[in-house]
Amino acid sequence: MLKKVLFILAAIITLVSAYIVFFVAPVPIEPTEAAGDPNNFKIFYFHLPIAISAYLSFAIVFVSSILYLRSKKQKWDIIGLSAAEVGVIFAFLTLATGSLWAKSAWGDYWVTWDVRLNTSLILFLIYLSYLMVRQAVEEPEKRARLSAVFGIIGFVSVPISFLSVRFVTQKMHPCVVPPCAGSEGGGIGGVVLVYLILNFTAYFLLAISLMLLKIDNEQLKEKINEVKRQKNL
């Protein structure tokens, strides 16, 4: 029951915030200062929440991997898998929306050697290979164990990727959300912030709903396997 309410809430808020982004939300940049079409700023309203949701999903993978190795309880494995799948989708969407925005604002789909771009790409690839690990092992216990190990290694490598990419980099991607080193940030405030928070709520709820659905799905799969084992099918 609680889940259904959550799903419906997620659906409504996502739709409402999409409507607001396209028809209501302001563009806080003077048309003369904007790079490219000033309306491209609107991508920001969902680009950032999607990216943060992806990062959160990956953090969930990390935590549930550790908990799995400690307790060997299957539920942590299922949570890790669900979070990883949702995270990969969101990470891909981050890259896609980011590329569209970059084409409009900077003139290219991809700007080589930008920190955030490359870190997001690496993140996406790491969790793709997490899913590859899962695919390569059949026994559930072993699959859970090996993918948990990889979930830990993968997550740890992310901050190092960020550090290393920053090294050989000029910065294209702005630091929008304070605190920003050196500058004031991209001037997010007032009504823009309100809509941004609305979008954050929408995409967090969406990510959580998807994860819960996936968890249910996996648990049902387990039950079916159980029944099959009992009946020797």
Binding site: I126, S129, M132, V137, E138, F150, S161, S164, F167
Partner: protein
């Protein structure tokens, strides 16, 4: 110091046949030769007002492509060899800590890979008539880069050894984790080849060391789960 025994066993077995070492060395040589035929040593390109030899731009990446691809060969055999005749079970029955098995494997893999690298660089220098500016600096970068590669690679090699598609899976899951390492190593190698001042690459060296330390510690903690039954 039990891990020294395990490393000694691995190296002894390896030097009896030299199977792995030979294929790694020849593979690295072939990579360099392919680059040699593709880019030659005379071709040059006009960049930012300066006429640059193509080899100067490509050399660091070329070296690390040869190192990582050849190193991958060694890594994929490192635990796969133990699968035959139930050697892995024997190893696990040894009265040593699980992390000693890992450390022993790390040591033997590192020795093989460094040997391969030390033969590849002279060949590279000869083929491209290249002049390395700072050889001790380059060695330092190579040692740091190789240890990171081996720390992560040995762990993931143990992880993939029990999977169905281990030969393909290892590179697929290893490269994403290696990106920062390869990138730092290439950038540091470029400075060592071209200008040679060690002070230019302190930043890269610091992050390389951080990478090595972090993954070494993580591997000590999670290795036992990769080979447990």
């Amino acid at each position: 110091m039990k891990f020294l025994e395990i490393a000694r066993k691995d190296l002894k077995a390896e030097f009896r046949t030299k199977q792995m070492l030979n294929s790694m060395m020849i593979f690295a040589l072939l990579v360099i030769v392919i680059f040699y035929f593709a880019f030659g040593n005379e071709a040059s390109i006009f960049i930012q007002g300066i006429n640059k030899k193509i080899v100067d731009l490509l050399a660091p990446g070329m070296l690390w492509i040869a190192f990582t691809f050849a190193g991958m060969l060694g890594l994929s055999r490192s635990f796969a060899g133990e699968k035959e005749e139930g050697c892995l079970e024997g190893l696990k029955l040894c009265p040593v800590d699980r992390s000693d098995i890992y450390n022993g494997k790390v040591l033997s893999n590192a020795v093989l890979m460094l040997l391969m690298e030390m033969t590849t660089i002279p060949i590279f220098v000869v083929l491209f008539s290249y002049d390395i500016k700072n050889i001790p600096g380059l060695l330092l970068v190579i040692i740091l880069g190789t240890s990171g590669f081996i720390f992560v690679g040995t762990l993931l090699s143990a992880l993939t050894v029990n999977t169905r598609t281990r030969e393909i899976l290892l590179p697929v899951i290893l490269f994403p984790v290696l990106f920062p390492l390869i990138q730092l190593a290439v950038s540091a190698t470029a400075s060592m080849l071209a200008s040679g001042a060690i002070s230019e690459i302190t930043g890269e060296l610091q992050i390389l060391i951080v990478y090595d330390v972090i993954f070494f510690i993580i591997a000590q903690m999670v290795f036992e789960y990769t080979i447990e039954d």
